[in-house]
């Protein structure tokens, strides 16, 4: 009645004719038909959405995300704290830490309404500079200041 072999979807070697996004053949519109120039949705609404392509990222970022160098590996292991170090705004959602880190991918859930917050240009007297305020500090010990804040 049906073959018991594993039905493999193959490779993502089809592209949207309008925007060039890659697709699997199994994702085509009108799955019942087998046609050579199949239509794919889910990317640009068949050419209706045209946005500028993202420009190539700096070489250093590629190096950090792909290299086997210990520094790059350290960066990848802590990519979210690293991003937080340089971000101008902070995440306002409630972070659910009830699931303990263990074997397998550790789960992190965000609850409630999420929003991004930004601070005033300078910190309150006696307060530490945070997020974008750090860019307003003196340059001499900037790297140390940045790292210190995250401690």
């Amino acid at each position: 009645m049906f073959d018991s072999d594993y039905h493999d979807e193959g490779e993502a070697n089809h592209t949207c004719v309008h925007c060039g996004a890659i697709f699997w053949y199994g994702e085509r519109l009108n799955r019942r038909r087998k046609s050579a120039n199949s239509v794919y949705t889910g990317c640009c609404m068949q050419g209706q959405i045209v946005l500028p392509m993202l420009k190539e990222s700096p070489k250093y970022m590629w190096w950090l995300f792909t290299s086997d160098h210990p520094d790059a590996k350290n960066f990848r292991a802590n990519v979210i704290p690293y991003n937080m170090l340089f971000s101008f705004t902070s995440l306002g959602g409630k972070v659910d830490r009830s699931v303990k880190k263990g074997r397998g991918p550790s789960m992190f859930a965000l609850q409630g309404e999420n929003y991004h917050l930004i601070r005033a240009l300078k910190p309150k007297p006696g307060d530490y500079a945070k997020f974008q305020q750090l860019y307003m500090m003196d340059t001499d010990n900037e790297v140390d200041n940045l790292i210190e804040v995250m401690r």
Partner: protein, 341 residues
Amino acid sequence: MSFVIIQNCSKGNNSGMEGGKQKFKKETVSALLKMLDKINPHVANFRIARDRFNIVKEEANFHMRIISNRETDDRVYNLPSVAEVVALIPGDFDDNLDKRDIVLQMKSGKLRRIHECHVSYLALQYPLLFPKGEDGYKLGIKKTPTKTSKGKKKQEDVSMRQWFDYRLQERKDEKHILLCSKRLLQQFIVDAFTMIESNRLRFIKKNQTKLRSTNKQAVQDASDAGGNDLSNKGKSVIIPPSFSGGPAYMQQNYLDAMGTCKHFGFPDLFITFTCNPKWPEITRFVKERKLNAEDRPDIICRIYKMKLDNLMDDITKNHIFGKTKSGTTLFHIFIHIFHEF
């Protein structure tokens, strides 16, 4: 898309050390800072603001405005220049400007919330993903009319969901770090989901009269009449069943499921279809890109959808169980087999 991101971030962890390892490498931090200093327009503007303050010292009363809408064509340009993103204005701010702009006062203890439709919303939160301050979603990006869309009266502007749909696709000629950024991509996707959700909720909140919520409210009141009187406490917002995941949506799906049971009798099979991240298609795809399966939640979802569609085809078109009637939710399928006696 997944609601869950994986992260071992520990901002509350005061040691800065994790398992004996140094979390931040000084060389990496200074190299990243140097890079952002060179190419990021927002960093450049904060530097300019700092220098200005250092010259005129504390008496100065400035505010800084991060501009939310630019006049450039958003279908062509997405790299803002330093002068475009920010305005430094002396004195206190006045109210007659775009309310989505971010206004930063000199000193104020209050945190300011940023509107999701601000063009730099993503660039400000993810400086490592968008080091050049690339534009995010903004209101009023026009769609391009095509053959298929002609003659149809549809929305003219690109919606936030469509914008992210476009961005989260892999293209051969687009060499951007976003889809290789592992955990940061997961955070980005969750953030994107919440952006779309709060945007939709805001629409619902502001369009209660169009949604005929008054009628609904009356029905609700009548059905709740037996309980405590809560109707005069504040103004409630009715979330219509078209909002996925909302209470009315759940209620409607539940009733639909019960309705089919009433008509056809109890289902013969109840199938829960789950995803295995070790499926060969996923493994091959991520291996080619030197990633792990959890680094590409979008791909997992897409393969899952294909497999689910295949299963449904096997049941409903190839009739592997015989003639059936079946319904499906995201993971659950219930099947009524018509027995021929």
